[in-house]
Amino acid sequence: MSTTTINITSEQIADAILEPVLHPKPAIEVDNVTVSFKTSKGFYTAVKDISLTVKKGEIVALIGHSGCGKSTLMGTISGMVKPTQGAVTANAETVTGPGPDRGIVFQNYSLLPWLTVYRNIYEAVDSAIKNKSAAEKRELVEANLKMVKLWEHKDKLPGHLSGGMKQRVAIARAFAINPSILLLDEPFGALDALTKSNMHVELLKLWNLDNRNKTIVMVTHDIEEAIFLSDRVVVMNNGPAATIKEIVEVTLPRPRNKKDIVHDEQYMKIHDKLLNLLIDKFSIDDI
């Protein structure tokens, strides 16, 4: 009987530890993705040949006109939409379907109308988080409901809430499962300006609390929102067969202050650039 000895040098150990730090795997890799749908009039290509890499801890906004395939692209990351060509990798695994490592805030809230606000979140937490006791899960629900300031409405059914409140429940639900990737499909679209502002700050607070480890991808129409929140803004061309038009880096230092930032020269430059990228397309369509 011979015993095999495995020799591991200290350099190898150091490499193994340092490798993920020096060359971290991207949180999301969209590799040459095309999505076509079968319709009554034949195939409709929503997005075409899209490649996008999102680093861990990065906040990326997808912006573009209605129907440009932003939500479709988002769907391929969440796993709700299967790419016709290409593949998406999230947390170093090929996306084959939705999973609790990617929390989703749906555009249309998607709350279950027969469950109270509390149960809507609890059932999601209960399913997505396996290694916690019932008491810990209840604490998570409570903390997240308080975060979106809906604790006193916890026993209401979604049918008795306003659109903005429903959206906040959906946000609390996505946060409660503590996913490493958050996918937000126009999450603040239904909110009034004041609530929206508060939610922006809350979102960044949460992201900070978690040492900026969460990767966030959001679809939005709102240029100000995109700049305030994100590290990069992905501007998409109009569909069909939408592609990425340009990726704009938001170099503004963090923490960003909502009131001061609008007077910042850099902010105004980025704002103008994004506006031009979007409006330019508009005027061509108009003529």
Binding site: P100, I104, N108, S110
Partner: protein
């Protein structure tokens, strides 16, 4: 507040009484035109009071009307209960699986239009016993509306709700209990409501064929054979009112399980 009581209680009562008065008037008119071949409401009322005496009497030689009613309701309950126990789970399976839907649907479509009475002789041949044959008949005819409505409900669960289950990794059990059943509940209750309606209609016909204790047999034996048309009319009223109450129970349940989005 005053308006609410007026709209919710007073007006419906006024409408109900008006409707009943018109029905009574027409009945009286028919009675006059047929020269009392069809007994008048008043003559029927007198027999009604007579029939209602000792309703719970349960002697071997005489059964009160209440005992007969309970006997009919019992058979409906057993047949309808068994039918629902089969139809609801089968509806879940059919609704959630396209292939099984395609396999089962033609069977359902062929068996559904068959008159419930046609199943009675088959039940008699199987069970060699007429009360059980009645229950079998109720069982068969209360399957279809529940089965069809349940499977339709499950098949129409919106993609949004399914996506919630997928996104948060709901187990199959959680999907069934938190999404599938609550969503299809109003459809299931509609099915049950239609089923109990059919079952209640069919039991009278079944009991005419099978004899024994029950409202159907009362109509046939004491009403027609006993030459008392008043008793036939009394039975019709009781059958109608009980049928309405059964329907109301399910209407209330239906409201209870319908949710605003």
């Amino acid at each position: 507040m005053k308006d609410i009581t007026l709209n919710k209680i007073i007006w419906p009562t006024v409408y109900f009484i008006t409707g009943m008065a018109i029905l009574g008037g027409l009945w009286h008119l028919v009675s006059l035109l047929t020269g009392n071949q069809v007994p008048s409401p008043i003559a029927t009322w007198n027999v009604f009071k007579e029939v209602l005496q000792n309703p719970w009497q349960n002697d071997p030689d005489y059964k009160g009307i209440g005992t007969k009613l309970l006997s009919s309701l019992g058979r409906v309950g057993i047949g309808f209960g068994l039918g629902s126990l089969v139809a609801i789970p089968l509806g879940f399976v059919m609704g959630s699986n396209k292939i099984l839907m395609n396999i089962f649907n033609p069977m359902v479509q062929i068996l559904r239009p068959v008159s419930p009475l046609a199943w009675f002789p088959l039940g008699l041949a199987i069970f060699q016993n007429s009360p059980e044959a009645s229950i079998f008949m109720i069982f068969i005819c209360s399957l279809w509306p529940t089965l069809i409505n349940t499977s339709f409900g499950v098949a129409s669960i919106p993609q949004d709700h399914k996506n919630v289950g997928k996104a948060f990794g709901f187990s199959t059990w959680k999907y069934i209990t938190k999404i599938m059943v609550p969503f299809s509940m109003p459809h299931i209750i509609t099915g049950l409501r239609l089923s109990i309606g059919v079952a209640w209609m069919v039991i009278v016909a079944g009991e005419m064929l099978s004899g024994g204790i029950g409202l159907g047999y009362f109509v046939w034996e004491e009403g027609f054979n006993g030459g008392s048309i008043e008793k036939i009319l009394v039975a019709i009223i009781i059958i109608g009112v009980v049928g309405l109450l059964l329907d109301k129970i399910f209407t209330v349940l239906q409201k209870r399980f319908t949710y605003a989005i």
